[in-house]
């Protein structure tokens, strides 16, 4: 296999992975509209009484919508770029999870434990 053949093959596989089809775009769009409308509706109308439950549902919709965008608009799959883009994505996601959970967890405990006078106030009758 010559260098030229290799480049041509590469280009073809690449084009197929990165462009998508009209059907793919439309499915992604319709799913996105639904996945956007429901959380907005939930928060605007307060359909679920419990705020905590609403927050969890809204976050779940966001995660699903991000996956939809990744698949239908950004054309992510395990095969594109020989798997390297998926590897980079997984690595990034691990970092994002560490940064977000780490920051929120540490700062929550810092606030809870270091707030001056808070403990004393609570122990007051």
């Amino acid at each position: 296999m010559s260098a030229h053949d290799h480049a041509a093959d590469h280009g073809h596989a690449h084009g197929g992975a990165a462009h998508g089809s009209l059907r793919g775009y439309l499915i992604g769009f319709v799913l996105s509209v639904i996945l956007t409308a429901i959380p907005f509706w939930l928060v605007m109308t307060g359909a679920i009484d419990d705020k905590q439950a609403t927050a969890i549902v809204v976050m779940a919709f966001a995660v699903v919508q991000i996956v939809v965008h990744m698949v239908f608009f950004l054309h992510m799959n395990t095969a594109s770029e020989g798997g390297w883009s998926m590897l980079a994505l997984i690595f990034t996601l691990i970092l994002v999870v560490i940064v977000l959970t780490g920051s929120l967890w540490v700062m929550y405990h810092l606030n809870a434990n270091m707030m001056p006078g808070l403990h004393d106030m609570r122990q007051m009758p």
Binding site: A3, H4, H6, A7, H10, G11, H14, G15, A18, H19, G20, S21, L22, Y25, L26, G28, F29, S32, V33, T36, P39, F40, V43, M44, K51, T54, A55, V58, M59, F61, A62, Q65, I66, H69, M70, F73, L74, E81, W84, S85, A88, L89, F91, T92, L95, V96, V99, L100, S103, L104, M107
Partner: protein
Amino acid sequence: MAITAGTEPVFHLEEEHAHAEGGSTMLGFWLYLMSDCLIFAMLFAAYGVLGGNYAAGPAPKDLFDLDLVAVNTTMLLFSSITYGFAMLTMDKGRVAATQGWLAVTGLFGLAFLSIELYEFAHMIHEGATPQRSAFLSSFFTLVGTHGLHVTFGIVWLVTLMVQVARFGLIKANRRRLMCLSMFWHFLDVVWIGVFTFVYLMGMLR
């Protein structure tokens, strides 16, 4: 291609050269987007930590208008699908249609920016400036950084429209349009995080 004694394996070098002709641009650009994703993760973390510190100032409930945010989200979502149409027409080599969809995408992007700037101006007019509280500082940094990305995305879009008008849908322009496509859709993904984490969760607080 047997290597005889004393022959340098030059074919490796040739292959390297053939590969470097824009073949790795997409992966490189994807890595840039991932690093950009980390920037946003830091800003989200900062907002998550500071978002409740109102300093006796206005809270999300006093400031945010969800109807406006919903319209804004729609604009960005429409711009995503129209960019998708631009890529599909680009595949068919139709220059005028591609330019048309790119222009529509740019207009939706401008509408998004205008609404966001109107929202910011409204908030600042009410005294909710970035200096007011840690919540507002982190809010303006996070949402403003996203808006800045969209601004540069529109500048890039106009640049590419001029390029396509002058040189047509040549290979280099197709590659550039594909990079911008990833950038644009990536910004939409970040916006999902913004409207969920900042606006919707803010209203629930």
